[in-house]
Symmetry: D2
Subunit: 352 residues, 4 copies
């Protein structure tokens, strides 16, 4: 329906521009593509590159009020240098030197930390000190005060996941500074949240109100590993337990509802037996994986990338991905699927 | 509005009777009382009486097809000898001799077992063998096949709770016979359901569909005891964790929803510190307690009853009850609260 | 598993009786039948019998405080003379003479009125006068104050439906007297509830909280008739609109949720074209129909009953029923389906 | 926590850039502001400018496949010329000449049309012709085929609202072409959806499955106007019905749930009595108003704008807005509030 060029038409377009209008017919394909065509691209970040850069930051950049965190965001190459791993998600390596403290603050943005190696840091969430150790998932849902401190003489690095890009583009974020120190330097093995909530199938009678995000803020590696191990054993015994042959997986959930741990971020852990390959899959929304242990590959829109421990990769919306396990292959995964599901935009396609 | 007696009135009443009609004005107070006036009464059954009678049944009554279970129902004294502990609930002592099997069947009625002492029996629920040990709660939600077998040379007794009176009066029940033997005589420490589901905050990715009843069918004493212990420790440390000072409590929940384990029955466990007394309380719906450990008293509509290990008592609808702990006092509780809440009839009154 | 008779066994059974116990093995089939075996029976009440008896009550029985309502309950012949049309439901003919008032009260029990003929009465629900006219459904959800008054010189009769049998057997009911007169004798055409809520797809911004029962308390015949007429026209035009060929039907719903109008009672209206016959159907739970207009038959567990205007019939749980239309055949229906669905006991079977 | 400049630091930053990383500490305030600081700005578009430009398009730009619609998007001056009225919402003037057809297509994006004046166009949604007349709200929820045709000899303009900016930035959109002509050129007064669903409190028994978006796709001015009129009359009579004195308002809802008409877009209609002024208000998320009738003003972040019939204005996230009515003042409103509420980011502030 392209109109012929004319002086009148040019005047019309000028009128649009002057009056802050923009016609649909000149931009339909871009505004409304046949399927999601993200500017974000699939990408792999190697841990062997990320960690040394984080260590260098530890030497050169102090941590404290203002910058708030020594966190280095992964910037999707398609998104113009912004620290967005995808249009919705932030993924960063955070680094805390020996005995350092990252000051307290709170924000609307939902956050988690996942620990690929190390220990010795406690994150203090609304006054409750939460130990961070290898394989643990730790939550900081929106508007909870939180700071971190390293109780040891060795530095520690981990990854942070947040919904910063979503909140920045959609204008939903509030922020508040808290104490410059964390409010409690105790270093208990288990947070109060875990002591109340990490009892399977048991709900404290004092906590009957459902909460938007999980009141259980620490998911320990011991439980995750056992759950995955049992799924594979059950599969060996001939019972339905895995998502696909050789592929065990759990979703981290809010025990008050059985649903996702936070309103915008889904967290999962996947384990593939050696030699397993997943079916190729596309989904609306973006997802990030970190290899926790083992060696394998990810195929992203047809390109195969070898990955091992610590490597992080992103699959943007409708990007096709599959995993291949050279050894037993353990991966932590997070995504924006709760956004897509709650707003009814989720679609997926399995296979060819 | 009582009419004067007359030949015409008597003819009218005869007309009603002949045509299956019954006027409201002669019966309003009974049909619609100012508050619930149950025919069921508060009552205490002593374990020291129940257990010997169960043992005598073990000698005199075989277990098998037809009678199905060697279960002796508690008959509320106000309900005319029927084996109803309340208008909604069934509570029974079940007894299984050495090496005996109770055959498989299934029914619409929701059921659980709670073990006040002993071990050695496995209940096989839809083919999954579930160990029964002291302090455990075991579920058999409606329409799951189940049978029991005793793997030991000693007998075992436990209590059963079901919604039989509700289902019988409301005409909702279906029943089907299964195998005369249980389908699997294996005696694993943990059922497949536990191996999949008893991982706090972790949901198998193969099980994302919410279920009406809990897919976790065994709630182990070890977890219950730890949850209660931690609540009291947290209270000692100055944190909100208990329902009232000195009163720890958990609700058993369906991990797919965070709600009650079955659509009609709520299960809880309560622990009072020595010397603790609960506030007097009334609720719509009926509730049953069994003392698990310790010594104390229950006050039911003003009458104090000393109770200890194994004793069972019922508080009918709107009956006032409170508990007093002479020692540390542990009680298992079940009720029909999900019925009252789902149909919006729940009310409660705390204090005087 | 019947034990042999013996002195010991008799002593055991005596022990049970003395201690308020009752063994399962002597009563399994009755307690847990293979399918619902209600004591309630299918039954038809003829309007030509009901109405004259109601009119006679109008002459002989005053209306007022104490008896509260001149309502004559239908007593299911299987339920021992109690004014229960089924184990859950109450159905009654209520009669109000010229210029009479039925005083205000409120109760936990949910109630509705349906008007098969007549006009001139206003029911005042929480102070809001609601006109009652032929074909209208009027709600009085639990704990709303309500009274009725007849503004005309002619008497009026209608049917009441409540969950009295459920509430009486399950001990959930509270009751409170209100004013002896109704609080407002105004006779507006439309209640305030209708003025706020009877606008299709439009929700008052001042009323965003969902309510347990419908805030719209009057469903007018004009709308019901139009909805059914349109369904049959759409069917004629080749579109999916009816539940089955020749069978139009609507459910009355709570506009804040789209669900049933009250937590325990479902209300529907069905229209069959002349000559239409419905498939035979069984359902868990009981249902009551009143013929509103036309002539036809109901087959209840194999027995055919001719019915016409005003006739009322009940199908208890799992009773098979089907309808046949001799003329266009309009029926109002209510049932306890919300109870069965919310407690997950619903099952149905269509056809042979 | 700004590090001192050094060669090493510069090397570190180079390392970040080369490896697609971007540190948090250089950008915290922008990424995580103290409250939403949208790039979008408050803005008013005058109907007296919009309509002539739309009319000129009608003369100069054909409508048809490719461009799909003769729609002119409002481009928020803060968003770089993109046709985004806000980061989530699209608002456009659409124009259809005499006897023209806009071809059929479908897309994930949710859409509605609101008619400030005119008549004669039918939008055909999934084959169901829906009349468009002054004051009507017409829905095209995601993935419904739709086209429009003008059945008259006069042109017609209206506004379109969609979630295009959200779907484009979040990469969720799919698109499919349909027929070049609309599938049904019939011009009925009422769509089939209305005939099934526009009966207050009555749900077709053939449509018991809840739907993501409203199955009622046309909300007629007659009903909206009556609802608002009644609210003001009820206020006059002393009853709670309006949101604030002199301020009547309705939300358009999905009759299957009572919730918003579509998963991402909320639609409302507001009427202020002459002289009424609303309290100043901020909310997370953006909102657009169109004046339907009357004359008044909007104050957007402290700046007063006089507006009258047809004028459109946008308040971005956390922008303070209030309305003032010079005459009776009728406004159509839409917003992205369902996104903010479903993702738990909603906050609002009333007053100062």
């Amino acid at each position: 329906m392209m109109p012929e060029d004319s002086a009148e038409l040019r005047a019309l377009y000028r009128g649009f521009a002057e009056n802050h209008m923009n016609p649909l017919w000149t931009q339909t394909g871009d505004l409304m593509p046949m399927h999601p065509k993200p500017r974000a691209v699939p990408h792999v970040w190697k841990w062997s590159v990320l960690l040394p850069l984080a260590e260098a930051s530890g030497r050169l950049v102090p941590v404290g009020r203002g910058g708030e965190r020594r966190a280095i965001g992964l910037a999707n190459p398609g998104l113009g240098g912004k620290a967005y791993v995808s249009p919705t998600l932030w993924a960063a390596v955070q680094y805390l030197g020996p005995r350092e403290t990252a000051p307290e603050h709170r924000h609307s943005q939902n956050a988690f930390r996942f620990v690929v190696e190390g220990e010795g840091v406690w994150t203090v969430v609304n006054g409750d000190p939460v130990r961070m150790s290898r394989g643990d998932l730790l939550l900081t849902p929106g508007w909870n005060f939180h700071g971190h401190h390293n109780d040891r003489d060795a530095p520690m690095a981990w990854i942070d996941g947040l919904d910063i890009p979503f909140s920045q583009q959609m204008d939903v974020g509030f922020f508040e500074f808290g104490a410059d120190k964390v409010t409690d330097y105790a270093t208990p093995n288990f947070s109060r949240g875990e002591r109340l909530w990490a009892n399977p199938g048991l709900r404290p009678l004092s906590q009957l109100q459902d909460t938007v995000s999980s009141p259980l803020a620490a998911f320990r590696w011991e439980h995750t590993d056992r759950a995955l191990t049992e799924q594979l054993l059950l599969e060996d015994e001939g019972h339905l337990a895995t998502v696909a042959p050789g592929h065990a997986a759990v979703r981290y959930v809010n025990p008050t509802t059985g649903g996702d741990v936070m309103p915008t971020i889904r967290c999962e852990f996947h384990r593939l037996r050696e030699g397993t390959q997943t079916e190729a899959r596309r989904e609306v929304g973006s997802t990030v994986f970190q290899v926790f242990e083992g060696r394998g590959a990810v195929v992203l829109d047809g390109t195969r990338h070898a990955v091992d421990k610590g490597d992080i990769f992103v699959a943007p919306s409708w990007c096709q991905w599959s995993l291949e396990a050279e050894t037993q292959f353990d991966l932590f995964r997070f995504s924006d699927a709760p956004i897509m599901e709650r707003l009814q935009f989720m679609r997926s396609q399995v296979g060819g």
